[in-house]
């Protein structure tokens, strides 16, 4: 539990302990007590200010991770007959994984193929692609309970018609936030 607390929080905790020690240190005069009370107030205000800064930093970091993931898009493409993650797909996935470490979102991975070949084999190939993405995400520390996979095979193309420009668009896994 402790290791997940950012450094700022640890500092605050230590400051609070230190403040308590100072406040209970013994038989000082009223002046010293007054001084101690003022000091405690200052340190509490400092702690509150740091807390606000921490939350702002977290929000900023989250927003930046979301922006980074969004800039890669939520579609990962594949080579013909292949379920191997390309370097571009890995880049994109790394951004999504970093975000998934910081939020609690559940995702669905939808696997697709182009129209060539038989439909049932393509249904299985779509699943293999979705599983490849899932396995990489899980291997990088995201719980498999947060990931659902489904295959549409060749049944849900984004581009109709023959030819590489259409087929390339259809060989994909789509990440959908639940």
């Amino acid at each position: 539990m402790m290791k997940h607390l950012p450094t700022a929080s640890k500092t605050i905790a230590m400051l609070l302990c230190a403040t308590l020690l100072v406040a209970c240190s013994g038989n000082d005069t009223n002046d010293a007590e007054e001084e101690a009370r003022l000091k405690a107030e200052q340190e509490a205000a400092e702690a509150a200010r740091l807390q606000v800064e921490l939350e702002a930093a977290n929000a900023e970091e989250l927003a930046s991770l979301e922006e980074e993931a969004a800039s890669h898009g939520t579609i990962f493409y594949f080579e013909y007959d292949s379920a191997t993650l390309t370097p571009e797909a890995l880049d994109a996935l790394n951004a999504h994984i970093a975000l998934l470490h910081r939020n609690t979102a559940a995702v669905r991975l939808e696997g697709h193929t182009d129209e060539r070949g038989t439909r049932e084999y393509n249904l299985a190939l779509g699943e293999r692609r979705a599983n490849a993405v899932r396995d990489y995400v899980v291997a990088n520390g995201i719980s498999s309970l947060r990931i659902e996979t489904v295959s549409y095979g060749e049944e849900r193309p984004v581009a109709y018609g023959a030819g590489d420009s259409n087929w390339t668009q259809n060989r994909r896994v789509e990440l959908v936030k639940q």
Partner: protein
């Protein structure tokens, strides 16, 4: 879940009689080299009121589609006999007809067809027969006449009195509405059995043609459903994690082969339909899919990419041994076997193009049957004469058929939208 099933059952029922948007048209693209010329004279209608159907036209169309017959055009007929007394062989020799079929339609309900077939050159009657049926099934009655004529002249039972299952998709619906449709073997009398906004795949027939099964993703992931044709009652057979797909009835009707990936990757299983018990046949990290049974029930052929690319393998149910069956080309998939167990049709890729090919399982000789590209889902007629399959024409999905010797061809585009995944029924009522 139950409410969803009731809703879908209602949807299915309410669509049982619709014929909109599922109609196929037929275009004959090629006949065989030496078709026999046959004159099918319009049959006499001996009842009152309008005749129930042009029976001769239905028989004519069946024989023409087989590619083995060249029917005589009605305008060329020198006479219109409907009884033996009116047959003058010289009229038919004059136009080089080899065979002559005449007949009479009578009765309102049931309707009855009497017919006689003549060998023009030998000047003798070679077949006499009759067929009856409910008036609502007059087209089927006509197809049975065509079956009898076909069998008499070729020695092979006809497969015209059969049904087709197929799936139509109309992209105008927003790219996602699929209709599972049942029609006659010539595409007539279409009936929508199921409409779904989620993918439908692999319609298949039970051996007694009373049930069908298919894959539907209506529940959120692919699952196998069985449906009774007479009542429309359906039952979800599987609900495992991952794929539940590619159903195939055993020849004795008691089991169903299927593909499940609940074990981590797609493998072939067999389910005992009475008990629901599952037996796992393949255990391989590769994709194993598209199982189909040998007619003797002793083996299952399936597609597997365990060798790197999809090829067809055979699992022997007695020994548990698996052997590779296809060795030509880098992609062979989706096997279907003829009733005599000798011929296998499949999807075969050559130079990047996907064709339907036939492999003789005894000699292992492979013959490519089609010149079309992006061919898929071959289905063999129950008499083994023709292969129906799906392909693309001008960007649209159509059905097409080719004779097993590659000679005759016809296509069945839908009037509207794409059509795919044909499944030819077994013989009916046998």
């Amino acid at each position: 879940m139950k409410r969803l099933h009731i809703f879908l059952f209602t949807v299915a029922l309410s669509l049982m009689a619709t014929t909109v948007r599922a109609e196929l048209t037929i275009e004959i693209t090629q006949g065989s080299d030496d078709p026999a010329s046959i004159a099918v004279v319009p049959f006499a209608w001996q009842g009152s009121g309008a005749p129930p159907a042009d029976v001769a036209e239905i028989v004519d169309g069946d024989l023409a589609r087989s590619g083995q017959f060249a029917p005589v055009a009605r305008v060329d007929m020198l006479g219109r006999p409907t009884a033996e007394a009116d047959v003058f062989y010289r009229d038919w020799r004059a136009i080089n007809a080899e065979y002559l079929l005449i007949g009479r339609v009578s009765g309102v309900n049931p309707v009855r067809v009497d017919y006689e077939l003549y060998d023009v050159l030998r000047q003798t009657r070679i077949l006499t027969g009759n067929q009856s049926g409910p008036a609502s099934e007059v087209r089927m009655v006509a197809h049975r006449v065509a079956d009898a004529v076909y069998e008499k002249l070729t020695g092979v039972p006809g497969a015209f009195a059969t049904k087709l299952l197929y799936i139509t998709v109309d992209r105008k619906d927003g790219g996602g509405l699929s209709r599972l449709t049942l029609s006659d073997s010539d595409g007539a009398s279409p009936v929508v059995l199921l409409k779904s906004g989620e993918p439908l795949l692999t319609p298949t027939w039970s051996p007694d043609a009373r049930h069908i099964a298919y894959v539907s993703s209506e529940s959120g992931r692919p699952a196998i459903y069985r449906q009774e044709l007479a009542t429309g009652k359906r039952q979800q057979l599987t609900n495992f994690k991952g794929l539940n797909s590619s159903p195939a009835w055993s020849p004795d009707g008691r089991s169903m082969a299927m593909v499940l990936s609940k074990g981590g990757n797609p493998d072939i299983y067999v389910m005992d339909l009475a008990s629901g018990q599952l037996k796992q046949l393949t255990r391989h990290y590769a994709i194993d899919t598209e199982p189909t049974w040998m007619p003797d029930g002793n083996a299952i052929l399936f597609t597997s990419d365990r060798g790197g690319k999809p090829q067809i393998y055979r699992y022997d149910l007695r020994s548990g041994a698996t052997d590779r069956v296809t060795f030509e080309g880098s992609y062979n998939a989706r096997p279907r076997i003829s009733q005599d167990g000798r011929s296998m049709v499949m999807v075969h890729r050559q130079e990047g193009r996907f064709h339907i090919a036939l492999q003789d399982l005894v000699t292992n000789r492979v013959q490519i049957l089609t010149q079309t590209d992006l061919d898929e889902s071959p289905s063999i007629a129950p008499n083994g004469s023709m292969v129906l399959y799906a392909t693309k024409q001008a960007g649209r999905g159509i059905l097409a058929a080719v004779a097993v010797d590659g000679a005759a061809k016809f296509s069945l585009p839908a009037r509207q939208g794409d059509v795919r995944e044909p499944a030819w029924s077994p013989y009916l009522n046998r």
